[in-house]
Amino acid sequence: MAVKKINKKNIAKVLAVWRREYNIIVPSMATDVPAFSEWDGEDISFLDWYRNTAVPPKSVVLPPMEKMMSFRKEKDGYKTEVSVNEDKQIIFGIRPCDAKGLAIIDDVFTNGYEDYYYASRRRNTLLIGLGCTNPQESCFCTSMDVDLATSKDVDIMFNDTGSEFIAEAFTAGGEYLLKITTGLKNATGTDMKTAKSVELEAKNKLTRALDTRGVSKKLQACFNNEDFWKQVAAKCVSCGICTFLCPTCFCFDINDEMVRKQGARYREWDSCSFRLYTRMPMENPREEKWRRVRQRVCHKFEFYPMNVDIFACTGCGRCIRLCPVNWDITRVIAGLPRQSDVKEKASALKG
Protein backbone atom coordinates (compact mmCIF):
# COMPACT_ATOMS: atom_id res chain seq x y z
CA MET A 1 0.00 0.00 0.00
CA ALA A 2 1.19 3.49 -0.86
CA VAL A 3 2.34 5.87 1.84
CA LYS A 4 -0.55 8.19 2.73
CA LYS A 5 -0.61 11.70 4.13
CA ILE A 6 -2.88 13.24 6.75
CA ASN A 7 -3.20 16.87 7.70
CA LYS A 8 -2.58 17.39 11.42
CA LYS A 9 -5.84 19.32 11.65
CA ASN A 10 -7.69 16.16 10.61
CA ILE A 11 -6.17 13.83 13.20
CA ALA A 12 -9.23 14.09 15.46
CA LYS A 13 -11.47 13.17 12.51
CA VAL A 14 -9.30 10.17 11.62
CA LEU A 15 -9.25 8.98 15.22
CA ALA A 16 -13.03 9.40 15.35
CA VAL A 17 -13.40 7.11 12.33
CA TRP A 18 -11.26 4.44 13.99
CA ARG A 19 -13.08 4.95 17.27
CA ARG A 20 -16.21 3.42 15.76
CA GLU A 21 -14.45 0.03 15.86
CA TYR A 22 -11.62 0.45 18.32
CA ASN A 23 -10.92 2.04 21.68
CA ILE A 24 -8.36 4.75 21.03
CA ILE A 25 -5.51 5.07 23.52
CA VAL A 26 -3.42 8.24 23.33
CA PRO A 27 -0.76 10.06 25.36
CA SER A 28 -2.62 11.88 28.11
CA MET A 29 -2.16 14.22 31.03
CA ALA A 30 -5.41 13.04 32.62
CA THR A 31 -3.49 11.20 35.33
CA ASP A 32 -0.85 12.76 37.58
CA VAL A 33 1.96 11.74 35.25
CA PRO A 34 1.89 11.60 31.43
CA ALA A 35 0.66 8.14 30.47
CA PHE A 36 -1.38 6.44 27.78
CA SER A 37 -5.10 6.47 28.42
CA GLU A 38 -8.40 6.41 26.55
CA TRP A 39 -9.00 9.29 24.16
CA ASP A 40 -11.92 11.55 25.08
CA GLY A 41 -12.98 11.97 21.43
CA GLU A 42 -11.83 15.58 21.10
CA ASP A 43 -8.54 16.55 22.64
CA ILE A 44 -5.50 16.14 20.40
CA SER A 45 -3.33 18.65 22.24
CA PHE A 46 -0.87 15.82 22.92
CA LEU A 47 0.44 16.43 19.41
CA ASP A 48 1.91 19.67 20.84
CA TRP A 49 3.25 18.64 24.25
CA TYR A 50 4.08 15.00 23.70
CA ARG A 51 7.75 14.01 23.66
CA ASN A 52 7.26 10.73 25.48
CA THR A 53 5.07 9.61 28.37
CA ALA A 54 6.49 8.94 31.83
CA VAL A 55 4.58 5.66 32.06
CA PRO A 56 5.36 3.52 29.01
CA PRO A 57 2.50 2.12 26.91
CA LYS A 58 3.18 -1.35 28.35
CA SER A 59 0.64 -0.26 30.98
CA VAL A 60 -2.10 -0.64 28.37
CA VAL A 61 -1.46 -4.35 27.84
CA LEU A 62 0.18 -5.14 31.19
CA PRO A 63 -1.72 -2.95 33.67
CA PRO A 64 0.03 -2.01 36.94
CA MET A 65 -2.62 -4.06 38.71
CA GLU A 66 -5.28 -6.38 37.39
CA LYS A 67 -7.74 -8.90 38.72
CA MET A 68 -6.82 -12.35 37.39
CA MET A 69 -9.83 -14.17 38.81
CA SER A 70 -12.47 -13.88 41.46
CA PHE A 71 -13.47 -16.62 43.89
CA ARG A 72 -16.77 -17.32 45.54
CA LYS A 73 -17.04 -20.00 48.20
CA GLU A 74 -20.24 -21.97 47.82
CA LYS A 75 -21.59 -25.15 49.41
CA ASP A 76 -20.08 -27.41 46.77
CA GLY A 77 -16.74 -25.61 46.62
CA TYR A 78 -15.04 -22.59 45.11
CA LYS A 79 -16.46 -21.01 41.97
CA THR A 80 -13.83 -19.18 39.94
CA GLU A 81 -14.53 -16.50 37.37
CA VAL A 82 -12.22 -14.81 34.91
CA SER A 83 -12.96 -11.70 32.92
CA VAL A 84 -10.56 -10.06 30.51
CA ASN A 85 -11.25 -7.00 28.45
CA GLU A 86 -10.81 -8.15 24.86
CA ASP A 87 -12.06 -4.96 23.21
CA LYS A 88 -10.19 -4.02 20.07
CA GLN A 89 -7.93 -1.06 20.73
CA ILE A 90 -5.40 1.20 19.06
CA ILE A 91 -2.42 2.68 20.83
CA PHE A 92 -1.87 5.90 18.89
CA GLY A 93 1.44 7.72 19.12
CA ILE A 94 3.72 5.00 20.46
CA ARG A 95 7.39 5.91 20.01
CA PRO A 96 9.69 3.45 18.22
CA CYS A 97 11.62 2.81 21.47
CA ASP A 98 8.43 1.78 23.28
CA ALA A 99 7.22 -0.30 20.34
CA LYS A 100 10.46 -2.26 20.60
CA GLY A 101 9.88 -2.57 24.35
CA LEU A 102 6.49 -4.13 23.73
CA ALA A 103 7.98 -6.55 21.20
CA ILE A 104 10.41 -7.71 23.91
CA ILE A 105 7.61 -8.21 26.42
CA ASP A 106 5.49 -9.97 23.75
CA ASP A 107 8.17 -12.60 23.49
CA VAL A 108 8.25 -13.21 27.26
CA PHE A 109 4.49 -13.53 27.60
CA THR A 110 3.75 -15.63 24.53
CA ASN A 111 6.63 -18.10 24.36
CA GLY A 112 6.21 -21.34 26.30
CA TYR A 113 2.99 -21.05 28.23
CA GLU A 114 0.99 -18.15 26.84
CA ASP A 115 0.01 -15.54 29.39
CA TYR A 116 -3.75 -15.55 28.99
CA TYR A 117 -4.33 -11.98 30.21
CA TYR A 118 -1.50 -10.30 28.33
CA ALA A 119 -2.07 -12.20 25.11
CA SER A 120 -5.85 -11.59 25.13
CA ARG A 121 -5.27 -7.84 25.22
CA ARG A 122 -2.22 -7.76 22.99
CA ARG A 123 -3.80 -9.72 20.18
CA ASN A 124 -6.57 -7.09 20.02
CA THR A 125 -4.19 -4.14 20.05
CA LEU A 126 -2.89 -2.25 17.02
CA LEU A 127 0.13 0.02 17.39
CA ILE A 128 0.41 3.29 15.55
CA GLY A 129 3.90 4.64 15.81
CA LEU A 130 4.77 8.31 15.84
CA GLY A 131 8.26 9.25 14.69
CA CYS A 132 10.25 11.01 17.38
CA THR A 133 11.10 14.60 16.45
CA ASN A 134 12.21 15.90 19.81
CA PRO A 135 14.35 13.40 21.74
CA GLN A 136 15.34 14.31 25.27
CA GLU A 137 18.70 14.69 26.92
CA SER A 138 18.40 11.26 28.54
CA CYS A 139 17.55 9.42 25.28
CA PHE A 140 20.04 7.05 23.68
CA CYS A 141 17.75 4.93 21.49
CA THR A 142 19.96 4.93 18.41
CA SER A 143 22.64 3.17 20.47
CA MET A 144 20.10 0.43 21.20
CA ASP A 145 19.23 -0.28 17.57
CA VAL A 146 16.09 1.87 17.58
CA ASP A 147 15.32 4.21 14.69
CA LEU A 148 13.61 7.53 15.47
CA ALA A 149 11.40 7.46 12.40
CA THR A 150 10.54 3.85 11.78
CA SER A 151 9.90 0.58 13.55
CA LYS A 152 9.27 -2.99 12.50
CA ASP A 153 7.14 -3.45 15.60
CA VAL A 154 4.19 -1.19 14.71
CA ASP A 155 1.15 -1.59 12.42
CA ILE A 156 1.34 1.94 11.01
CA MET A 157 4.15 4.47 11.29
CA PHE A 158 3.34 8.18 11.34
CA ASN A 159 6.03 10.76 10.58
CA ASP A 160 5.92 14.52 10.86
CA THR A 161 6.36 16.71 7.78
CA GLY A 162 5.40 20.03 9.37
CA SER A 163 1.67 20.54 8.92
CA GLU A 164 1.04 16.94 7.92
CA PHE A 165 1.90 13.38 8.84
CA ILE A 166 2.88 10.74 6.33
CA ALA A 167 1.56 7.31 7.27
CA GLU A 168 2.91 3.94 6.16
CA ALA A 169 1.17 0.66 7.01
CA PHE A 170 3.29 -2.43 7.70
CA THR A 171 0.65 -5.02 8.58
CA ALA A 172 -2.79 -6.09 7.39
CA GLY A 173 -4.29 -4.44 10.48
CA GLY A 174 -2.55 -1.19 9.63
CA GLU A 175 -3.64 -1.32 5.99
CA TYR A 176 -7.21 -1.87 7.08
CA LEU A 177 -7.14 1.27 9.22
CA LEU A 178 -5.84 3.37 6.35
CA LYS A 179 -8.43 1.84 4.03
CA ILE A 180 -11.41 2.76 6.23
CA THR A 181 -10.08 6.31 6.46
CA THR A 182 -11.47 7.61 3.19
CA GLY A 183 -10.09 10.58 1.30
CA LEU A 184 -6.42 10.16 2.22
CA LYS A 185 -4.01 11.42 -0.41
CA ASN A 186 -0.86 9.58 -1.37
CA ALA A 187 2.35 11.09 -0.06
CA THR A 188 4.55 12.66 -2.72
CA GLY A 189 8.29 12.47 -3.20
CA THR A 190 8.56 15.93 -1.66
CA ASP A 191 6.66 14.75 1.45
CA MET A 192 9.09 11.85 1.83
CA LYS A 193 12.04 14.21 1.49
CA THR A 194 10.60 16.57 4.10
CA ALA A 195 10.05 13.65 6.48
CA LYS A 196 13.64 12.57 5.94
CA SER A 197 14.98 16.02 6.79
CA VAL A 198 12.77 16.18 9.92
CA GLU A 199 14.22 12.80 10.89
CA LEU A 200 17.80 13.97 10.37
CA GLU A 201 17.15 17.09 12.41
CA ALA A 202 15.74 14.95 15.24
CA LYS A 203 18.74 12.63 15.13
CA ASN A 204 21.05 15.60 15.50
CA LYS A 205 19.29 16.51 18.74
CA LEU A 206 20.38 13.23 20.33
CA THR A 207 23.29 14.01 22.62
CA ARG A 208 23.71 10.76 24.45
CA ALA A 209 25.21 7.54 23.15
CA LEU A 210 26.10 4.21 24.66
CA ASP A 211 28.83 1.97 23.35
CA THR A 212 27.39 -1.52 23.75
CA ARG A 213 30.27 -3.40 22.16
CA GLY A 214 31.37 -6.25 24.41
CA VAL A 215 29.05 -5.17 27.23
CA SER A 216 27.85 -8.69 28.03
CA LYS A 217 31.42 -9.96 28.25
CA LYS A 218 32.49 -7.05 30.43
CA LEU A 219 29.55 -7.66 32.76
CA GLN A 220 30.43 -11.32 32.97
CA ALA A 221 34.00 -10.43 33.84
CA CYS A 222 33.05 -8.07 36.65
CA PHE A 223 30.08 -10.05 37.97
CA ASN A 224 31.86 -10.94 41.19
CA ASN A 225 33.50 -7.55 41.59
CA GLU A 226 31.65 -6.69 44.79
CA ASP A 227 33.48 -3.37 45.27
CA PHE A 228 32.46 -2.19 41.82
CA TRP A 229 28.78 -3.07 42.34
CA LYS A 230 28.70 -1.55 45.80
CA GLN A 231 30.02 1.67 44.34
CA VAL A 232 27.49 1.58 41.50
CA ALA A 233 24.64 0.88 43.92
CA ALA A 234 25.68 3.39 46.56
CA LYS A 235 23.16 6.11 45.81
CA CYS A 236 20.28 3.88 44.70
CA VAL A 237 17.33 4.13 47.08
CA SER A 238 15.64 0.93 45.83
CA CYS A 239 12.45 2.82 44.95
CA GLY A 240 11.87 0.66 41.87
CA ILE A 241 10.78 3.52 39.61
CA CYS A 242 13.37 2.56 36.95
CA THR A 243 11.75 -0.86 36.67
CA PHE A 244 8.13 0.29 36.82
CA LEU A 245 8.72 2.84 34.06
CA CYS A 246 10.99 0.65 31.92
CA PRO A 247 9.32 -0.37 28.64
CA THR A 248 10.97 -3.81 28.80
CA CYS A 249 10.51 -4.67 32.49
CA PHE A 250 7.76 -7.23 32.96
CA CYS A 251 8.15 -8.73 36.46
CA PHE A 252 4.98 -9.21 38.45
CA ASP A 253 3.68 -10.42 41.77
CA ILE A 254 0.50 -12.39 42.43
CA ASN A 255 -1.56 -11.81 45.57
CA ASP A 256 -4.93 -12.92 46.93
CA GLU A 257 -7.57 -11.15 48.90
CA MET A 258 -10.67 -12.60 50.59
CA VAL A 259 -13.46 -11.00 52.52
CA ARG A 260 -15.92 -13.50 53.96
CA LYS A 261 -16.80 -15.80 51.06
CA GLN A 262 -15.73 -13.55 48.19
CA GLY A 263 -12.19 -13.06 47.06
CA ALA A 264 -9.89 -12.41 44.16
CA ARG A 265 -6.40 -13.05 42.86
CA TYR A 266 -4.55 -9.99 41.60
CA ARG A 267 -1.39 -9.44 39.68
CA GLU A 268 0.71 -6.33 40.21
CA TRP A 269 3.92 -4.99 38.75
CA ASP A 270 6.85 -6.02 40.90
CA SER A 271 10.48 -4.96 40.87
CA CYS A 272 13.87 -6.62 41.32
CA SER A 273 14.83 -3.45 43.22
CA PHE A 274 12.77 -4.60 46.18
CA ARG A 275 14.24 -6.70 48.95
CA LEU A 276 11.05 -8.72 49.32
CA TYR A 277 11.03 -9.65 45.64
CA THR A 278 13.22 -12.73 46.19
CA ARG A 279 12.77 -13.28 49.92
CA MET A 280 11.93 -16.81 51.00
CA PRO A 281 11.09 -17.79 54.57
CA MET A 282 14.59 -19.13 55.24
CA GLU A 283 16.84 -17.02 53.03
CA ASN A 284 17.07 -14.28 50.44
CA PRO A 285 19.54 -14.49 47.56
CA ARG A 286 19.39 -10.73 46.93
CA GLU A 287 19.09 -9.28 50.41
CA GLU A 288 21.85 -6.73 49.74
CA LYS A 289 21.15 -3.69 47.56
CA TRP A 290 24.25 -4.09 45.36
CA ARG A 291 23.04 -7.57 44.35
CA ARG A 292 19.69 -6.13 43.29
CA VAL A 293 21.28 -3.32 41.28
CA ARG A 294 23.61 -5.87 39.67
CA GLN A 295 20.61 -8.04 38.80
CA ARG A 296 18.91 -5.15 37.01
CA VAL A 297 21.95 -4.14 34.96
CA CYS A 298 22.92 -7.72 34.15
CA HIS A 299 19.38 -8.72 33.23
CA LYS A 300 19.20 -5.94 30.65
CA PHE A 301 22.68 -6.31 29.19
CA GLU A 302 23.87 -9.85 29.92
CA PHE A 303 21.20 -12.40 30.95
CA TYR A 304 18.42 -11.38 28.57
CA PRO A 305 20.74 -11.23 25.54
CA MET A 306 22.04 -14.71 26.46
CA ASN A 307 18.50 -16.08 26.10
CA VAL A 308 17.04 -14.01 23.26
CA ASP A 309 20.08 -12.37 21.61
CA ILE A 310 18.84 -8.81 22.07
CA PHE A 311 19.48 -6.20 24.78
CA ALA A 312 16.48 -5.68 27.06
CA CYS A 313 16.93 -1.93 26.79
CA THR A 314 15.56 0.40 24.13
CA GLY A 315 17.36 3.59 25.15
CA CYS A 316 14.14 5.43 26.06
CA GLY A 317 16.00 7.13 28.89
CA ARG A 318 13.17 6.97 31.45
CA CYS A 319 15.31 5.27 34.11
CA ILE A 320 17.74 8.20 33.84
CA ARG A 321 15.24 11.02 33.45
CA LEU A 322 12.87 9.92 36.20
CA CYS A 323 15.29 8.52 38.78
CA PRO A 324 15.00 10.49 42.03
CA VAL A 325 18.76 10.27 42.68
CA ASN A 326 20.05 10.68 39.11
CA TRP A 327 21.30 7.13 38.81
CA ASP A 328 22.45 6.72 35.22
CA ILE A 329 22.67 3.34 33.52
CA THR A 330 24.69 4.72 30.61
CA ARG A 331 27.35 5.88 33.05
CA VAL A 332 27.38 2.45 34.71
CA ILE A 333 27.83 0.68 31.39
CA ALA A 334 30.47 3.17 30.24
CA GLY A 335 32.29 2.74 33.55
CA LEU A 336 32.43 -1.06 33.50
CA PRO A 337 35.95 -2.22 34.24
CA ARG A 338 37.67 -3.25 31.02
CA GLN A 339 38.50 -6.94 30.90
CA SER A 340 42.21 -6.17 30.72
CA ASP A 341 41.88 -4.08 33.91
CA VAL A 342 40.22 -6.99 35.64
CA LYS A 343 42.95 -9.35 34.50
CA GLU A 344 45.70 -6.94 35.53
CA LYS A 345 44.13 -6.56 38.93
CA ALA A 346 43.80 -10.32 39.31
CA SER A 347 47.40 -10.95 38.31
CA ALA A 348 48.56 -8.11 40.56
CA LEU A 349 46.76 -9.78 43.44
CA LYS A 350 48.33 -13.13 42.59
CA GLY A 351 51.80 -11.64 42.23
Partner: protein, 290 residues
Amino acid sequence: MIIANPKKEKKYLNRDNVYLPHMVLIDKIIEETPSVRTIHFHFKDDQMNRDFTFEAGQFAELSVPGTGEATFCISSSPTRKGPLECCINRVGLVTNALHRLGVGAEMGFRGPYGNHFPLESMRGKNIVFVGGGIGLAPLRSLIWNILDERDKYGKIYIIYGARSAGDLCFKYDLDTWQQDKTISTVIAVDKADGNWTGKEGFVSAVLKEESPRADNAIAVLCGPPIMIRNTFPVLEELGFSPEQIFTTLEKKMKCGIGKCGRCNIGNLYVCRDGPVFSYAQIKSFISDEY
Protein backbone atom coordinates in the same frame (compact mmCIF):
# COMPACT_ATOMS: atom_id res chain seq x y z
CA MET B 1 0.28 -8.63 16.62
CA ILE B 2 3.98 -9.04 16.16
CA ILE B 3 5.33 -12.03 17.96
CA ALA B 4 8.63 -13.71 17.33
CA ASN B 5 8.06 -17.40 16.73
CA PRO B 6 6.06 -18.38 19.79
CA LYS B 7 6.52 -21.94 20.96
CA LYS B 8 3.33 -22.79 22.82
CA GLU B 9 2.86 -25.26 25.63
CA LYS B 10 -0.63 -26.38 26.44
CA LYS B 11 -0.44 -29.00 29.16
CA TYR B 12 -3.49 -29.41 31.42
CA LEU B 13 -4.74 -25.87 30.93
CA ASN B 14 -7.96 -24.96 32.68
CA ARG B 15 -10.14 -22.95 30.27
CA ASP B 16 -7.04 -22.10 28.18
CA ASN B 17 -5.71 -20.01 31.06
CA VAL B 18 -2.44 -21.21 32.57
CA TYR B 19 -3.03 -19.22 35.78
CA LEU B 20 -6.43 -20.75 36.47
CA PRO B 21 -5.96 -23.55 38.99
CA HIS B 22 -7.63 -26.95 38.85
CA MET B 23 -9.49 -27.60 42.07
CA VAL B 24 -8.34 -30.60 44.09
CA LEU B 25 -9.77 -32.26 47.19
CA ILE B 26 -7.75 -33.44 50.17
CA ASP B 27 -8.02 -37.22 50.79
CA LYS B 28 -5.62 -37.62 53.66
CA ILE B 29 -3.18 -35.65 55.78
CA ILE B 30 -0.08 -37.13 57.39
CA GLU B 31 1.61 -35.03 60.06
CA GLU B 32 5.29 -35.82 59.40
CA THR B 33 6.78 -33.54 62.06
CA PRO B 34 5.33 -30.72 64.17
CA SER B 35 5.82 -28.31 61.25
CA VAL B 36 5.66 -30.59 58.19
CA ARG B 37 2.64 -32.36 56.78
CA THR B 38 2.02 -34.40 53.66
CA ILE B 39 -1.26 -33.78 51.88
CA HIS B 40 -2.77 -36.46 49.63
CA PHE B 41 -5.24 -35.09 47.11
CA HIS B 42 -7.12 -35.79 43.89
CA PHE B 43 -8.68 -33.59 41.21
CA LYS B 44 -12.33 -32.63 41.47
CA ASP B 45 -12.54 -33.19 37.73
CA ASP B 46 -12.53 -36.91 36.88
CA GLN B 47 -11.04 -36.32 33.46
CA MET B 48 -8.00 -34.74 35.10
CA ASN B 49 -7.66 -37.72 37.46
CA ARG B 50 -7.51 -39.99 34.42
CA ASP B 51 -5.26 -37.82 32.23
CA PHE B 52 -2.81 -36.23 34.62
CA THR B 53 0.80 -37.40 34.43
CA PHE B 54 4.08 -35.90 35.60
CA GLU B 55 7.75 -36.81 36.01
CA ALA B 56 9.73 -37.17 39.22
CA GLY B 57 11.27 -33.81 40.09
CA GLN B 58 8.50 -31.60 38.72
CA PHE B 59 6.65 -29.11 40.87
CA ALA B 60 3.24 -27.50 41.16
CA GLU B 61 1.63 -24.34 42.50
CA LEU B 62 -0.79 -25.13 45.31
CA SER B 63 -3.17 -22.45 46.43
CA VAL B 64 -5.73 -21.59 49.03
CA PRO B 65 -8.15 -19.24 47.24
CA GLY B 66 -8.08 -15.87 48.97
CA THR B 67 -4.71 -16.52 50.63
CA GLY B 68 -2.36 -17.22 47.76
CA GLU B 69 -0.21 -19.68 45.88
CA ALA B 70 3.09 -21.33 46.75
CA THR B 71 5.45 -23.76 45.05
CA PHE B 72 5.78 -27.42 46.08
CA CYS B 73 7.43 -30.42 44.50
CA ILE B 74 5.19 -33.41 43.90
CA SER B 75 6.47 -35.98 46.39
CA SER B 76 4.51 -39.01 45.18
CA SER B 77 5.81 -41.23 42.40
CA PRO B 78 4.62 -40.94 38.79
CA THR B 79 4.59 -44.75 38.71
CA ARG B 80 1.71 -44.86 41.18
CA LYS B 81 -1.79 -43.99 40.16
CA GLY B 82 -3.97 -42.59 42.89
CA PRO B 83 -3.72 -39.45 44.94
CA LEU B 84 -0.94 -36.94 44.37
CA GLU B 85 1.12 -35.96 47.38
CA CYS B 86 2.85 -32.74 48.40
CA CYS B 87 4.90 -32.15 51.49
CA ILE B 88 4.39 -28.79 53.18
CA ASN B 89 6.64 -27.06 55.69
CA ARG B 90 4.77 -24.45 57.72
CA VAL B 91 6.82 -21.27 57.23
CA GLY B 92 4.74 -18.52 55.62
CA LEU B 93 1.28 -17.21 54.80
CA VAL B 94 0.22 -19.86 52.29
CA THR B 95 1.86 -22.82 54.05
CA ASN B 96 0.16 -21.82 57.30
CA ALA B 97 -3.17 -21.72 55.47
CA LEU B 98 -2.45 -25.15 53.96
CA HIS B 99 -1.76 -26.42 57.48
CA ARG B 100 -5.19 -25.24 58.59
CA LEU B 101 -7.00 -27.29 55.92
CA GLY B 102 -8.63 -30.62 56.81
CA VAL B 103 -9.59 -33.77 54.92
CA GLY B 104 -12.21 -32.95 52.28
CA ALA B 105 -11.08 -29.35 51.93
CA GLU B 106 -10.47 -27.82 48.53
CA MET B 107 -7.20 -26.38 47.19
CA GLY B 108 -6.07 -24.96 43.85
CA PHE B 109 -3.45 -26.82 41.78
CA ARG B 110 -1.44 -25.71 38.75
CA GLY B 111 1.20 -27.86 37.16
CA PRO B 112 3.22 -29.88 36.60
CA TYR B 113 5.99 -27.38 35.84
CA GLY B 114 9.75 -27.50 35.41
CA ASN B 115 12.11 -30.22 34.24
CA HIS B 116 12.64 -33.58 35.92
CA PHE B 117 15.33 -35.99 37.04
CA PRO B 118 17.13 -37.60 34.08
CA LEU B 119 15.67 -41.11 34.61
CA GLU B 120 16.66 -42.30 31.13
CA SER B 121 20.34 -41.69 31.75
CA MET B 122 20.14 -43.27 35.21
CA ARG B 123 19.10 -46.70 33.92
CA GLY B 124 21.60 -49.47 34.62
CA LYS B 125 23.51 -47.34 37.08
CA ASN B 126 23.98 -47.36 40.84
CA ILE B 127 22.03 -44.55 42.43
CA VAL B 128 23.10 -42.72 45.59
CA PHE B 129 20.39 -40.62 47.23
CA VAL B 130 21.49 -38.04 49.77
CA GLY B 131 18.71 -36.18 51.53
CA GLY B 132 18.32 -33.79 54.43
CA GLY B 133 15.14 -32.87 56.29
CA ILE B 134 12.21 -31.99 54.06
CA GLY B 135 14.60 -32.32 51.11
CA LEU B 136 13.55 -35.95 51.02
CA ALA B 137 10.24 -34.90 49.41
CA PRO B 138 11.45 -34.57 45.79
CA LEU B 139 13.87 -37.48 46.23
CA ARG B 140 11.04 -39.68 47.49
CA SER B 141 9.18 -39.26 44.20
CA LEU B 142 12.27 -40.48 42.34
CA ILE B 143 13.09 -43.22 44.89
CA TRP B 144 9.66 -44.84 44.55
CA ASN B 145 9.79 -44.40 40.79
CA ILE B 146 13.09 -46.30 40.71
CA LEU B 147 12.01 -48.94 43.23
CA ASP B 148 8.91 -49.61 41.11
CA GLU B 149 11.26 -50.43 38.21
CA ARG B 150 13.89 -51.97 40.48
CA ASP B 151 15.49 -54.32 37.92
CA LYS B 152 16.43 -51.45 35.61
CA TYR B 153 18.91 -50.01 38.12
CA GLY B 154 22.00 -51.20 39.97
CA LYS B 155 22.72 -50.75 43.66
CA ILE B 156 20.70 -48.16 45.53
CA TYR B 157 21.90 -46.19 48.53
CA ILE B 158 19.68 -43.90 50.55
CA ILE B 159 21.49 -41.66 52.99
CA TYR B 160 19.08 -39.45 54.87
CA GLY B 161 19.42 -37.19 57.86
CA ALA B 162 17.51 -34.62 59.84
CA ARG B 163 18.22 -32.32 62.77
CA SER B 164 16.64 -34.68 65.27
CA ALA B 165 14.64 -37.91 65.25
CA GLY B 166 11.48 -35.79 65.47
CA ASP B 167 12.41 -33.96 62.24
CA LEU B 168 12.64 -37.09 60.07
CA CYS B 169 10.02 -37.02 57.31
CA PHE B 170 8.33 -40.02 55.70
CA LYS B 171 9.16 -42.38 58.61
CA TYR B 172 6.80 -44.99 57.12
CA ASP B 173 8.87 -45.01 53.90
CA LEU B 174 12.15 -45.05 55.81
CA ASP B 175 10.97 -48.21 57.63
CA THR B 176 10.07 -49.89 54.34
CA TRP B 177 13.38 -48.96 52.74
CA GLN B 178 15.37 -50.15 55.77
CA GLN B 179 13.67 -53.52 55.59
CA ASP B 180 14.23 -53.81 51.83
CA LYS B 181 17.34 -55.98 51.39
CA THR B 182 17.92 -54.74 47.82
CA ILE B 183 18.81 -51.23 48.97
CA SER B 184 21.10 -49.90 51.65
CA THR B 185 19.45 -47.23 53.72
CA VAL B 186 21.31 -45.25 56.35
CA ILE B 187 19.46 -42.79 58.52
CA ALA B 188 21.19 -40.31 60.78
CA VAL B 189 20.30 -37.37 62.98
CA ASP B 190 22.50 -34.34 63.63
CA LYS B 191 21.97 -34.66 67.34
CA ALA B 192 20.71 -37.87 68.94
CA ASP B 193 18.33 -37.80 71.87
CA GLY B 194 17.57 -40.55 74.40
CA ASN B 195 15.61 -42.93 72.20
CA TRP B 196 17.68 -42.68 69.01
CA THR B 197 19.63 -45.86 68.28
CA GLY B 198 20.73 -45.00 64.75
CA LYS B 199 23.65 -42.98 63.50
CA GLU B 200 24.53 -39.52 64.67
CA GLY B 201 26.20 -36.82 62.55
CA PHE B 202 25.74 -34.55 59.54
CA VAL B 203 24.61 -36.14 56.28
CA SER B 204 27.84 -35.17 54.54
CA ALA B 205 29.89 -36.94 57.24
CA VAL B 206 27.71 -40.05 57.10
CA LEU B 207 28.08 -40.08 53.31
CA LYS B 208 31.85 -40.00 53.70
CA GLU B 209 31.70 -42.87 56.16
CA GLU B 210 29.52 -44.97 53.86
CA SER B 211 31.65 -43.96 50.83
CA PRO B 212 29.57 -45.44 48.01
CA ARG B 213 31.63 -46.10 44.86
CA ALA B 214 31.48 -43.48 42.13
CA ASP B 215 32.01 -45.68 39.07
CA ASN B 216 28.81 -46.20 37.08
CA ALA B 217 26.90 -44.22 39.70
CA ILE B 218 24.67 -41.16 39.86
CA ALA B 219 24.23 -39.14 43.04
CA VAL B 220 21.01 -37.23 43.63
CA LEU B 221 20.84 -34.84 46.56
CA CYS B 222 18.35 -32.47 48.08
CA GLY B 223 18.23 -30.68 51.38
CA PRO B 224 18.87 -27.33 53.00
CA PRO B 225 21.43 -25.16 51.13
CA ILE B 226 24.11 -25.68 53.78
CA MET B 227 23.80 -29.45 53.43
CA ILE B 228 24.00 -29.27 49.63
CA ARG B 229 27.08 -27.04 49.77
CA ASN B 230 28.80 -29.41 52.21
CA THR B 231 27.89 -32.54 50.27
CA PHE B 232 29.24 -31.54 46.83
CA PRO B 233 32.91 -31.67 47.96
CA VAL B 234 32.41 -35.03 49.70
CA LEU B 235 30.94 -36.53 46.54
CA GLU B 236 33.81 -35.13 44.48
CA GLU B 237 36.26 -36.62 46.98
CA LEU B 238 34.56 -39.98 46.49
CA GLY B 239 35.27 -39.64 42.78
CA PHE B 240 31.91 -38.40 41.50
CA SER B 241 32.34 -36.05 38.55
CA PRO B 242 30.09 -32.93 38.43
CA GLU B 243 28.13 -34.60 35.61
CA GLN B 244 27.25 -37.49 37.91
CA ILE B 245 25.68 -35.30 40.59
CA PHE B 246 22.13 -33.91 40.43
CA THR B 247 20.17 -31.71 42.78
CA THR B 248 16.97 -29.72 42.76
CA LEU B 249 16.99 -26.03 43.66
CA GLU B 250 14.44 -23.85 45.37
CA LYS B 251 13.69 -20.17 44.76
CA LYS B 252 10.89 -17.77 45.41
CA MET B 253 8.37 -18.26 42.60
CA LYS B 254 5.04 -16.74 41.71
CA CYS B 255 4.10 -17.89 38.22
CA GLY B 256 6.03 -21.17 37.88
CA ILE B 257 6.33 -20.73 34.10
CA GLY B 258 9.22 -18.32 33.52
CA LYS B 259 7.34 -15.03 33.39
CA CYS B 260 7.22 -13.32 36.79
CA GLY B 261 11.00 -12.97 36.84
CA ARG B 262 12.15 -13.62 40.40
CA CYS B 263 13.59 -17.15 40.40
CA ASN B 264 16.51 -16.43 38.07
CA ILE B 265 20.08 -17.50 38.68
CA GLY B 266 21.93 -15.53 36.03
CA ASN B 267 20.15 -16.13 32.73
CA LEU B 268 18.39 -19.29 33.93
CA TYR B 269 15.00 -19.47 35.57
CA VAL B 270 14.73 -22.19 38.20
CA CYS B 271 11.06 -22.75 37.30
CA ARG B 272 11.61 -23.06 33.57
CA ASP B 273 15.19 -24.32 33.19
CA GLY B 274 15.17 -26.31 36.46
CA PRO B 275 14.44 -27.12 39.20
CA VAL B 276 16.72 -30.14 38.54
CA PHE B 277 20.32 -29.21 37.74
CA SER B 278 23.52 -31.20 37.49
CA TYR B 279 26.44 -30.04 39.58
CA ALA B 280 28.25 -29.40 36.30
CA GLN B 281 25.51 -26.91 35.37
CA ILE B 282 25.58 -25.31 38.79
CA LYS B 283 29.34 -24.90 38.54
CA SER B 284 28.85 -23.07 35.24
CA PHE B 285 26.22 -20.72 36.70
CA ILE B 286 27.18 -17.10 36.23
CA SER B 287 25.76 -16.20 39.58
CA ASP B 288 26.40 -17.34 43.12
CA GLU B 289 22.83 -16.44 44.08
CA TYR B 290 21.56 -19.94 44.84
